[in-house]
Amino acid sequence: MTRNLDINVEHLTRVEGHGNIVVNMREGKLEKAQLEIVEAPRYFEAMLKGRSFHEAAIITSRICGICSLGHQITSLKATEQALGLTVSEQTVLLRKLLIHGATIQSNILHAYFLAAPDFLKVGSVFPLVSSHPDVVVRALRMKRLANDIGEVVGGRAVHPITPVPGGFTHIPAPDELKELKRRLVEDMTPDLLATVETLKTLAGEIPVFERDTEFISLRSDDDYALYDGDICSSDTGRVADSMYREMTNEFIVPHSTSKHCRHHRSSYFVGALARWNNNHDRLCDLALQAAGALGLEPGCCNPYMNTIAQVVEAAHCTVDSIRIIDELLERGLQQEEPDQEPTRFGTGVGATEVPRGILYHEYTYDRQGRLTAANCIIPTGQNLENIDDDMKKLVPEILDRSQEEITSYLEMLVRAYDPCISCSVHMLDVDFVE
């Protein structure tokens, strides 16, 4: 085939942040297929240098609104390790509950508001308000409950207030948790089952495309790893989170204000599909049933199925939230003060699974408890090279389609990763050398 093709999608819609898709083909030869990241650089290092450990999580949560809880928790873990602060079992349970809420809200937002319009061939969720009102009302109800977990435990869903180094500034009342549990059981669980039914009718719209790649996520012996665990590669197995630099290997490319990553192959995948492939044996029954109903198999190499893996995770997070609330209520909620007396001043690493994949923060503090070095590696940055590799394999496979169809396949591919571009251009990888 000697086709020429010029695709240039400027400021791709229905993703967080600013990116362009560029594909050029000359006489059947693919010259370029890449996602250009054009988000304005943020220069967070200028904000962090010399700041107090009380402020680190407040500042880094502003890297991204959608991932603010993930940044905050990861930041707190890095700070606590660097300063030798301890947290109680209650704090860990409340943090895990917050992560579940943020994961449900983000995954549902993506599946219903950002990805579903593609399956239904409309430009946004808004036409669905009149064509599929029950589906939209259900999505809003699920999102509201997920956000309410953030408001009850975190004080606010976007940029939460209460999580601080060493614990929480505010502990929710037992009645507030009981009410959340009631809604998780009576509303969220049936809504999830209905979501699976809706998605089953759309399964034919998910493109069939496979590319074997490396999947990297956290892995834990105790649970479906979100809050903590070892770093696990589908190619090379498990290592401690302190080895994160060996697993990421950031590099700069001219077409992106966000740095790219690679590990064992030319690229790797992080996010719901990576977690599914590495940790499906740790999921609860409801999640496994959802996966079975939606045709999600272990070892899945179709990036478009990431959206399905997100819905499966929402089911797991719902069931596990109910379990955590039961445990908190059984233990009895303690009004405890956060531990904010450093016992050492050094370097600490935090690794957490946030909705879009594995997130790393590393901080070094001086003896005044002020930041002297910081590094954050963001899930979307880790996925960028994998997206480019997908495009290079996908375009030749769909060359018999029209330019509009090819463009639509590419847009759906990028959206399937649920990229968070604001995050990826935080540009925070600096030792502050004076």
């Binding site: 229905r14 603010s68 946004s124 509201r144 540009m427 990888d429």
Partner: protein
């Protein structure tokens, strides 16, 4: 009945948390949609048409391309609303302005710094006329609803101008200073219902300074409670570098 107002949403340099907060109006979203036509919202929809009655704009301006885009939006919008700390007062992005820009670029991108142009981070009002502010980091949801309702009804919203301390006292919270923590409530503009102090945290100053802030009086409170004036100044710069630089000159 008159045609529904045409509303558009835009984002510049920032975290898009304010936009997310707009999508988080799950209980009100369907009612709001009945009163307006949303004609452009890149984060949520594909369409990109021409003119708007109301433009909600998030983020600060930090590249040459941002300046071009905001001028274009201003030309096409009857009412321009700045949403969130980045858009209203430069916000957290303004922190980079406190250091020489070349130094910052080199630190991050090294020899590749010329690949990516950047400018000092500016609030929208430094480049175009802003009609209404919705403050906060993230934007205060209640305030957004009030502004939205007023604009849809064709009224000019009223901006709160008293300090966070006033609202905190009305809620009968224990004073944050009494807990031995620095708090920026005395000089920060209210309208948030003292949300952070009500959840045990100090006020971080995200809503900008009150008109004619009495910074001397805040220093006196800090000294009285044995807290560091230097540290408080540093924290005040987190969201307000642009405004504080202006006060100096």
């Amino acid at each position: 009945m008159a045609a529904k107002p045409r509303v558009a949403f835009f984002d510049f340099t920032g975290c898009e948390g304010c936009e997310l907060n707009q999508l988080n109006f799950e209980n009100q979203l369907l009612d709001m949609l009945e009163h307006v036509d949303i004609v452009e919202w890149r984060e949520a929809m594909d369409d990109r048409p021409g003119e708007y009655d109301i433009a909600f704009v998030e983020g600060s301006l930090s590249t040459p391309d941002c300046i071009k885009r905001i001028n274009d939006i201003r030309r096409r919008a009857k009412v321009l609303v700045a949403v969130g700390a980045c858009a209203v007062q430069g916000g957290i992005n303004g922190m980079k302005n406190t250091r020489p820009i070349e130094e910052v670029r080199e630190e991050v991108y090294g020899k590749d710094k010329y690949l990516f142009p950047t400018l000092p981070a500016l609030p929208l009002s430094a480049v175009v006329k802003v009609d209404v502010n919705v403050r906060g980091c993230p934007m205060t949801q209640l305030e957004f609803l009030k502004v939205f309702t007023a604009l849809v009804m064709g009224k000019q919203p009223v901006e709160p101008n008293s300090a966070v301390c006033v609202e905190c006292k009305l809620k009968e919270n224990e004073c944050v200073y009494e807990k031995g923590m620095i708090c920026l409530g005395p000089v920060t503009r209210g309208g948030c219902d003292a949300h952070c102090p009500s959840f045990g945290q100090y006020c971080t100053g995200c809503r900008g300074l009150v008109p004619e802030p009495n910074l001397k009086a805040m220093e006196e409170i800090l000294v009285k409670h044995g807290l560091s004036v230097n540290e408080a100044w540093k924290r005040l710069h987190l969201y307000n570098s642009h405004e504080l630089e202006g006060l100096k000159s």
